[in-house]
């Protein structure tokens, strides 16, 4: 048995790692997978960067930020596998939400109208709303900025963004320290179930196939342990398939609910897994397909265009200095080559390319694949823009 320690945060999208350990997929590959719970992204990052763990469940933008040295000493991180797609939910306290469309299904279905309603609601509010985000370098924060920016809201001028750990968001909302928050599940659902918040925006409705958590490793360790990395990726791919199967959602929710993992009721995990979200406490759930995905459509494949989209947003919001070197390093964090190597002989559907134009698919489409049967789901952005990784400058200019 090869021992691998992986750090994670208590979130529904840690599912693939939890299933790999608890359902024996890691053991089948000769890996004893230790899961180390962390309470903050900073701690998870330090454990990975300083070699206390070999792998981590990491925010995709954080993996890129660490590699580019955006907030501390640079360290080369590689992401050979994506652990999830979609899954972020933006909630606001009931007072603020009262200024938005009262038809909750329509509110979630139509992010364009809701973005404009939100802009108007800011004007009516007695002060700048304070919004909790989990990290400056998170997909949540980038998606929130993208959505608000569409309606002419400057998140750095018209709002106060405050960083809080996901597990403290609901309490901070209750205490009036924040007016709303965007976080990974189950924390938004927990706040809605407590009756203190309502869902305003769902990540899957802003970008239909948005990159979320990645499996992150130190590049140096990944290169030195190729054979172990391959076995780990096979285990994770199988665990992801298990997690995606609706027949297993009940058992998965129970596993995640354990104190050593998320430590919340299984009921808080189920709406996301099933894609039936409780938008307002006490009302019928709203169907949001693909709220969170683990496996189908080759979710695990780390598209370099995903990394470059994140880079484009870091540049757009002034968090990274644009340069050809930084762009190349950001793209290299997502290691589609390692994914291909590890899963080559498993029959997993394999994309023919490593880059694609993001946001171009409005319906499911079969794509060139070495083994048959890869269907990619619709991946549109809510504003209809497309991201061509070959023209990042042009893309950035389009935001004005």
């Amino acid at each position: 048995m090869t021992r691998i320690s992986a750090a994670f945060l208590p979130l529904t999208d840690s599912a693939v790692l939890v299933a790999a350990r608890e359902k024996g997929f890691a053991a089948e590959q000769g890996i004893e997978l230790d899961l180390i719970r962390s309470e903050s992204w900073a701690t998870l990052r330090d454990r990975l960067v300083y070699g206390q763990v070999q792998a981590a469940h990491m925010l995709a933008p954080l993996a890129i930020a660490v590699t580019l040295g955006l907030s501390q000493h640079p360290a080369s991180i590689s992401a050979p596998f994506k652990l999830s797609v979609n899954g972020n939910i933006f909630v606001m306290g009931t007072v603020f939400a009262a200024a938005l469309d009262p038809d909750i299904a329509r509110r979630v279905e139509d992010p364009i109208a809701t973005a404009h309603d939100f802009a108007a609601a800011i004007g009516l509010y007695r002060r700048k709303p304070v919004i909790g985000i989990v990290h400056r370098f998170s997909c949540h924060a980038l998606l929130l900025r993208y959505w608000l920016g569409y309606a002419g809201i400057d998140p750095d001028r018209d709002l106060v963004l405050r960083v809080l750990p996901p597990s403290l968001m609901a309490a901070a909302l209750e205490a009036g320290e924040i007016d709303g928050f965007i976080a990974g599940e189950p924390w938004s659902t927990v706040a809605v179930q407590a009756g203190s918040a309502e869902i305003v925006m769902v990540g899957a409705r802003v970008w239909q196939r948005g990159v979320e958590k990645v499996l992150a490793m130190r590049t140096e360790w990944m290169d030195a342990n190729a054979e172990t990395v391959d076995r780990l990726l096979i285990a994770l791919d199988r665990a992801a398939a298990w997690c995606d199967d609706p027949a297993h959602h009940g058992e998965l929710a129970e596993l995640l609910a354990r104190r050593e993992y998320v430590g919340q009721n299984a009921e808080a995990m189920l709406p996301t897994l099933a894609g039936r979200l409780i938008v307002r406490s006490g009302e019928a759930p709203v169907e949001v397909p693909a709220t969170m995905l683990f496996h189908r459509e080759a979710v695990g494949f780390p598209w370099r265009s995903h990394a470059l989209w994140i880079y484009s947003q870091l540049v757009r919001w002034g968090m990274a200095e644009p340069s050809p070197e930084a762009e190349a390093r950001a793209a290299d964090v997502f290691r589609s080559d390692i994914y291909r190597r590890a899963l080559a002989d498993t029959g997993a559907p394999m994309p023919g390319a490593s880059l694609k134009v993001e946001g171009a698919l409005s319906k499911p489409m079969g794509v060139g694949s070495h083994s048959a049967g890869l269907i990619l789901g619709p991946d549109r952005f809510f504003d209809g823009k497309t991201f061509d990784p070959a023209d990042i400058e042009g893309y950035l200019r389009s935001f004005g």
Binding site: S40, S71, P165
Partner: protein, 193 residues
């Protein structure tokens, strides 16, 4: 040199504060990581911030540090990035340190060394405390089980204890586990013990 300790465990903060005072540092402030703690730290303008690595509030603090960097007050984690052993020891002990860039590492190393030792001492104290608590809880459980046996089997106390012990030995279990099982069974049977 001004040092801020961010901690909501009163005991650990004072263990650390005492150690730093003994070592001759006298400008030490303890800030619990709640509410507007970041604003308090900003006002204090410390040279070094020490914090529990496991604290969920680290992301909040780091966000402030990133913003401060924009204000030309750069702060970095750990002093000498090349000293992996020391960083490993700090992480193992649960210390995270934030240091103003440009502060010479010779000046910060003793603080980090001391923080590691003190965090380890606190962890040891904590585990001893937990152990003592477990011992007391176990003793209470065993006493209850003995009382049940004394009443239902009409045994003297030493015999009741001997019965628990021999059962535990025969079954290869701890006495407290046998006692717990007995209490559960007795509760289920409702024999009033």
């Amino acid at each position: 040199m001004r040092i801020v300790i961010v901690d909501d465990t009163g005991l650990r903060a004072s263990i650390l504060e005492d150690g730093l005072a003994e070592a001759g540092f006298d400008d030490i402030h303890i800030v619990p990581p709640r509410g507007g703690f970041v604003a308090r730290i900003e006002r204090l303008a410390p040279d070094v911030v020490l914090m529990d690595l496991g604290s969920p509030s680290r992301d909040t603090l780091e966000e402030m540090l990133v913003v401060s960097r924009a204000l030309a007050r750069p702060i970095a984690m750990f002093v000498d990035h090349s000293d992996d052993d020391m960083i490993g020891a700090a992480i193992d002990a649960g210390v995270s340190a934030y240091v103003v860039d440009g502060l010479r590492k010779e000046r910060v190393k003793p603080i980090l060394d001391l923080a590691i030792r003190r965090f380890n001492a606190f962890a040891k104290l904590q585990s001893e405390l937990d152990e003592a608590r477990t011992v007391i809880a176990d003793r209470k459980t065993i006493d209850r089980a003995k009382a049940i046996l004394m009443k239902s089997r009409n045994l003297a106390e030493p015999d009741a204890y001997a019965l628990l012990r021999s059962t535990a030995m025969n079954q290869g279990r701890r006495i407290v586990e046998v006692a717990e099982a007995l209490i559960t069974a007795s509760d289920l049977l409702g024999d009033g013990a």
